[in-house]
Amino acid sequence: MKKIYSVLVENRSGVLAKVAGLFARRCFNIDSLAVGETFDKEVSCITIVSSGEKSTLEQVEKQLNKKIDIIKIKTFSEEDSLSRELILVKVKYNKNNRRELMEICELLDASIVDMSKNQMTIQLCDTPEKTDLLMQMLASISVVEVARTGTLALQKCRLSDQ
């Protein structure tokens, strides 16, 4: 199973290394990772997607909680979250497949953000499933390079929220 950890940490040097080191040492998986400042400059948010047995995922949270630089951990399942990834894909194109590429972009709500005579860069910001799908669709076309962020996630808003 998969779980998303939204980890608020003290914005100090070495904290990301400590968190990543903990995962490595205890053989926990990191499927994806994203780090950024929060509105409070002293606090960063690390979003980690991890997969494993239920008991392992519980250990992940407990071991994270022991780290003194970690302020707060929120965990939620994929269904309970709003997740986004950003992907940039540079592809080679020619007269024959240009049309097809544009159709893919249109269908998936991706945009062409840069281009030259032979190459173009496609951007998509969407759910991890959608970014995966874009990758699949482009697989048959000559991909030059790919840059992709980790998953960013927040818990979905609920009726009961104050």
């Binding site: 003290e10 070495g14 290394a17 400590k18 080191g21 903990l22 040492r25 008991s55 519980e58 250990q59 407990k62 071991q63 909680n65 022991k66 003194i68 630089d69 970690i70 302020i71």
Partner: protein
Amino acid sequence: MLGADAMAKCLEEEGVEAVFGYPGVAICPFFNSMLGNNIERILVRTEQNAAHAANGYARVSGKVGVCVATSGPGATNLITGIATAYADSIPLVCITGQVDSSLLGSDVFQEADITGAVESFVKYSYLIKKVEDIPRIFKEAFYIASTGRKGPVLIDVPIDIQNAVLKNFSYPEEVNLRTYKPTVKGHAVQIKKVFDALKKAKKPIICAGGGVILSNAKSELREFSHKNGIPVVSTLMGIGAMPTRDPLYYGMVGNNGKSYANKAMNDSDLLIMIGARVADRAIAQPDLVTENTILVHIDVDPAEIGKNVGPTIPLVGDIKSIFDDFKKEELNSDYSEWIETLNKYREAEKPRRKPDEKYVDPAVFITKLSEKMEEEGIYVADVGQNQMWSCGYHIVKNGMFLTSGGMGTMGYSIPAAIGARRAAKDRQIIAVCGDGSFQMSMMELATMMQHGLFIKIVVFHNGYLGLVREYQYNTYKANYSVVDLSGSPDFCKLGEAYGIKCVRVSDMQGIDEKIDEFISYDGPMLMELMIDPMDRVK
């Protein structure tokens, strides 16, 4: 005031009596500032042993042990000692010198990224970047090391910070860590559940770990066990939580433990693990434990609960505080039938050892030695066959049994006993090691002599790395590799070279008188025991 003066002042504020360390250029400002106070500076002979000595000191005094080393190799030499303390949850503050902060990261002479290197063996670490932070960081370090699940904290101080001027020194009264608030008090609902389970149980048993001793709850455990007639077994780190000959104590569990202890644990219908990690050496198959047993797991560290085995009733909190809450509950259950069964198990245990009479029998020797030891005596076992024999045959009265449990670090006993001596000037302290472990720390005989921290040392001499040899005997059909200790010195001559009284004992003849003489001798003494090179633990 300089940063180094502030560091020394912080140690005074914390009531530190002694530091164990080894100097080098990067920590020289600190040692220079230490000349201005009454804190004893004990020079060890290699940095690893500074951490072990601080470890022994901490366990006996109940305070935080302090060790100090210089940058680079000094700091990296500390690591095994830090990992040893971390594995057994011993509170240490480790101070290391560091190169000038403007040179950090440029691989200058004796630079090592020590905070990075120890990350997985410390509770927390600091690299001080501003001289003004020194008082706050020291206060936090001592607080973190000694609260919750105890453990080592490292403070790395670049030399320019030690030499920087600090205008105002004020030591904080309190720490303010928004992210660190260990749970002390056990949850009332969970406590009630424990008692409900106890009321239903017919065959309850307590398994006491090192946490009982660390939270200073030995007398609470004994009182609870006696008041309610609940039997107790222990892990290796829990030895000494109950007196060995307490009628309700059924020995150490695990693959090197007593078979009746393991049988008691397996047959119980309610197992209460207290301050124990459920680690592999104690419980080989955690899943089997919970098959027919209700498991209560009590620990100050929530991450230990459910790590190796899923408990039925988890209870997080400081053990002493939890026992205090237990006192308020009434339990009128009668487990005498179960006790009778356990007594039968115990009586059925037959001695399996067949020692060669040409040598000293370590098992009989250890029992005799511990019977003759003072009520409050401290026995420090090393690692190897000596440790297994010590676990099996040492009789703890009201004293302490110290050893490196989690990490199993050879060479622990002598420096730890020296540190223990600094904490307890009047108690009887005996380090027991093998000829392998002795040679890992024999340089510390000089530390003992220099600082008058006299201990008694027993060396089991079999000319082998015995426990590995035994493993090779069992696993590789006695094809021995790299376990022969030929080339070892004459231990008595070596001891005498340091001015230590030494005696070599070849067999059991007159052993009682020899032990009496060893114990009553006023001063440092080493007893070398010739044991059967082929002897095995069981």
